[in-house]
Amino acid sequence: MATQTLAAGGRTPTTGTTPGGRPARGDRAARVSWSGTVVLALCAVTVLLPLYVTVSMAFKTQSQAVDGQAFSLPAPFSIDGFVQAWNLTDFPVGAGISLFVTAGTVAATILLAAFASYAIVRNWDRRLFRYSFYYLLAAMFIPFPVVALPQIQLTGRVGLDNPVGVVLLATMFQLSFSVLLFTAFLRSIPDELEESARLDGATTWQTFWRLIFPLLAPMSATVGIFAFLYAWNDFMMPSLIIADPALQTLPVRQNLFQTQFSNNYHVAFASYLMAMAPAILAYLFTQRWVMAGVTQGAVKG
């Protein structure tokens, strides 16, 4: 749906007459708006400039980084920042915890949301399932800060003030959006498909795993990439829920440079780069689903 439309890249150019009713020149390239391209390319600089600063600062030496010339190229080229950032933030541990939180959230979100959505859509005529849908959706109304304080208390009391607790809470906050996407998608899958599977003797469990879950794959990709971006990037929830600083995720570890090493800019930027790179790479490989997810989620939400 949206995926294809977006991937196709817009309105199909009309042929015949040019704007204003003048006769067509016949050459499509002649109608490319070069001024528009230039203006947008200049706008793109505002996006790329902060990223360029991050990369160039990260490869500078300390003396070059403190001279305040953010936009100069690194000379000499140095990876000293990365080495120090690696050690200061205990990068392997931080990345490991971030990875655990992210993988856990993605897997739990896809599985729980797909299970629940399937049950809801197939039993829509039952009040319990219908109301459960509205109940799960209601979480869209709840900003995290509203429930944060009691959550900190409760997770502390039951021993979940750690990355496992963050996985649980992050999954719960992703549910509304994910269930919304899955249920809409499931409604478009014709019943006949399932009926034929059942005639062949498949149980509901088998039907779900062999037929429905594979069919959900494109939507699982969308749901998964959003869970990934949220869990990998979030600062507020892990900073509040995880009690032990040694168990903190990568984004939270960055505050080290604000509080303790405020003049080691090259180290700070190397660290920022290492923390943001996985999300950017993931996006570049999965942009199709990111774009589809935004539009579908928003238009339905």
């Binding site: 817009g10 902060p50 600063v53 943001m276």
Partner: protein, 314 residues
């Protein structure tokens, strides 16, 4: 895309695509296979424990004098009454609303213009679209730290080089202007999502409408104002309300840029609530959170009713 808009996905209370059989037609309703409960219950139970229970506990404690641990007693509406005369709370609401309104306007204007540009006949359309979405996928706190450096070092340097006095000191240290930096960085991150929704809206406008307008001699600007804007009005409503709801929760970017400062000039409601946990203001900030929750619900209901009216109108 247009199909997505009209599909009742449930938020509007529309039934699913399977017609629910009326009781008269089917006196003996089919039994629900037990496995469906197994599919649904873990989610509902976990959700209740992780979100509903804390929410209810929080509302309960908002009527007490609890500091988070130890004894407490009921104090009725004392916390709620105190809130309205607390300058710190009132200021955080004023800042949060003002910041949200400003950001919504900036984000929507920029995102709409970019979307129009990115759906027009330009070169490198796919590459440009890819670039413009990048800010959406980076952690807010890290974006804020990077811009913090630019605002504290590069911008003042540029300010003194160009001889602009108000730029020579960091915007972030100026109580009257720090919010401008916060709006700018929040917008930088929020524009892509909004822009994608506008692109979807623009792509759903059939091209023959423009052809007809061309034949009638309408100029490009006339087409934009008379055709494009009215036809994507529904998307404006979605974007304004989704954005507003999101900006009310502002936390990461403000923490990274100003941490609420200078003084308390840029302290958002979310920051005030969360600070209550360390300050021994547990019950008091739960009252704040309850009010904040009510505000969030009212805005969401407004969203639903506006979207429904919009659907009816179109």
């Amino acid at each position: 895309m247009s199909a997505t808009v009209t599909t009742p996905a449930g938020t509007g209370g529309g039934p699913g695509t399977r017609p629910a059989p009326s009781a008269a037609h089917r006196p003996h309703r089919r039994r629900v296979e037990p496995i469906y409960y197994l599919f649904l219950l873990p989610t509902v139970v976990l959700f209740t424990l992780a979100i509903t229970v804390p929410g209810v506990v929080g509302i309960f404690f908002s009527f007490t004098d609890s500091i988070g641990i130890g004894d407490w007693s009921f104090v009725g509406l004392t916390n709620y009454i105190a809130m309205f005369s607390d300058p710190a709370v009132v200021q955080s609401y004023l800042f949060t609303f003002g910041f949200s309104v400003a950001t919504v306007v900036v984000v929507n204007v920029v995102a709409f213009l970019l979307a129009v540009g990115l759906t027009s006949r330009i070169r490198m359309r796919t590459a440009l679209r890819t670039v413009f979405v990048v800010p959406m996928v980076i952690s807010g706190i890290i974006i804020a730290y990077v811009f913090n450096f630019l605002f504290s070092n590069s911008l003042p340097a540029a300010g003194s080089a160009l001889g602009v006095p108000w730029l020579e000191t960091s915007l972030l240290a100026n109580p009257d202007l720090a919010w401008v930096a916060i709006v700018a960085v929040t917008a930088w991150q929020a524009v892509p999502g909004t822009m994608l929704i506008y692109i979807a809206g623009l792509l759903s406008v059939p091209s023959d409408v423009y052809e007809a307008a061309d034949l009638d001699g309408a100029s490009k600007v006339q087409q934009l104002l008379r055709i494009t804007v009215p036809l994507v009005a529904g998307y404006v409503v979605i974007n304004v309300i989704l954005g507003f709801k999101g900006f009310l929760n502002a936390y990461d970017i403000i923490v990274g840029l100003t941490n609420g400062g200078p003084g308390t000039a840029t302290r958002s409601v979310a920051m005030t609530i969360i600070a209550g946990f360390n300050g021994g203001d547990y019950a008091y900030q739960m009252a704040n959170a309850t009010i904040f929750f009510v505000v969030a619900v009212l805005i969401s209901l407004l969203q639903l009713s506006l979207m429904r009216n919009n659907r009816k109108a179109s």
